[in-house]
Amino acid sequence: MGKIILEASNLKKEIDGNAILQHASFKIEENISIAIRGSNGSGKSTLLKLLAGIYEPTSGKIIRNANRTGYVPEHFPENLRFKLKEYLTLVASFQGIPEMDMETELSEYISLFGIEPYINTPLKKCSKGTKQKVGILQALLIKPDLLLLDEPLTGLDTNSQQNLMAILEKLKTKMSIIFTTHEDLLVDNIANQVLYVKDGCVLVHTKPKSSYRVIKVRFPNKDFLTELKLDEIHIEEDKALITVPIDKSDYLLKELLNRNCSVLDVRERI
């Protein structure tokens, strides 16, 4: 068992007299990625804010052992009065990192996130996707050992979602990641564990080994995809992301190739 990075004991949180969470007890180990799931208004964001230290529990106890925590809100602030790079430089300076050291690191992140063309653009004028990336970057710049993200894929187009998932996949080997989400894709690709929030209670679920594969293809026309009767498919322009049971994946791949599709990626759903 690894180091416990967060521990909650009989946690209860009330907001304006309403109990949002109660009897929540769980432990979170370091370097584990966790998805927090639940219906709208179930208390996912409240739980994430409790873990981040933005909220304190009404009763119960939470022990936060992370040295540095990064937090990415669901909606990046709309009215920041800074240019993109200026904002990130200021945020990095909160930790007292010398400007020269930080400049190198910042350039690497800016390149990794593909936001070089916007570094001198006022944040107010940046697109939702760029702001979301800046939201993640500000959290990464403080070199967190715990990264908390609230609905990170909300409002992003499929390409930006794919990019973001690729980034999170790289990051999950370096730090603990906890995120709230409604997206199966994100849970499948990133999470090792799932915390379900229902009626204010938190249930911990360790994910079993996947029995699904995710296939990414480029298709010449999408009419035939409906004939294949696929349960889980995301289409963006001429690309499709299909999730199928492992025992049916070979058959599907053969079908797709026979119909002149290009297979771009095949991976197991984690």
């Binding site: 200021l90 945020v91 300076s93 007292g96």
Partner: protein, 233 residues
């Protein structure tokens, strides 16, 4: 902390919210010293009160400048205590700039009827700083505690300012309120010593009242911090 103060300063200046209070204050000072040959201590008493109003206004702006998600990010990045201290520091730094203007402007214009001595300058710096702190306390109380609903923040600040400035008159009519008003900044208690414009009045009693004002401010900052942490929990 330096980085956070820089962040706050840039964000506040670029919001242009400083323009109305700054313009009001500067006009006030210019009008006050339109005539030359005015008294030293009582003039500085008036500008201290102007600074009291200004810092209340500015600190309320500074505490309400962020939307919720930006505040949440800042809480995680710098912590709630440093967030609050940073806001107070930026408020006092801005107040110092206006204090320097209020003190130096009449000197440059040679507006006073007497020659200004170091004791006048020392007292003026003290009273301006003290009233800036009072302003920050009133502005903070109205915006960062959970006592006042958001829509009544300005009303409550104006009410506290009005009571603190008309303390003598209210207490004369309703003496029992004296004990209730002990929770408010002792504005009149300090300013009364300056109205006579006579250094002879600045004696032991003045320093006792001033010591009380400093003690009051220290306790008030501590209490406000506790109330802020409670509200933001």
């Amino acid at each position: 902390m330096q980085g956070f103060i820089k962040y706050q300063f840039k964000s506040y200046i670029r919001s242009f919210k400083i323009i109305p209070p700054a313009a009001t204050f500067l006009i006030w000072i210019v009008v006050l010293y339109h005539y030359s040959g005015v008294e030293i201590l009582s003039s500085y008493a008036v500008t201290s009160i102007a600074l009291y109003l200004l810092t209340t206004w500015i600190s309320m702006n500074i505490f309400s400048i962020e939307e919720e998600s930006e505040k949440n990010i800042l809480f995680v990045q710098v912590g709630k205590v440093r967030y609050l201290l940073g806001k107070w520091i930026i408020s006092i730094l801005i107040a110092i700039v206006f204090m320097l203007f209020a003190i130096l402007y009449p000197l440059l214009l040679d507006s006073f009827k007497e020659v200004v001595q170091p004791i006048h300058l020392g007292l003026s710096i003290f009273v301006h700083l003290l009233f800036s702190i009072f302003g920050i306390l009133v502005g903070s109380f109205s915006t960062i505690t959970s006592f006042i609903p958001k829509r009544y923040t300005w009303l409550s600040a104006v009410l506290v300012i009005a009571i603190t400035l008309s303390y003598d008159g209210i207490v004369e009519k309703l003496s029992l309120l004296k004990w209730l008003f002990i929770v408010l900044p002792p504005v009149v208690n300090v300013i009364n010593f300056f109205e006579m414009d006579d250094l002879n009045y600045i004696g032991k009693e003045f320093w006792i009242i001033s010591s009380f004002a400093i003690l009051y401010s220290t306790i008030a900052f501590y209490v406000l911090m506790k109330l802020f942490l409670k509200k933001e929990s």
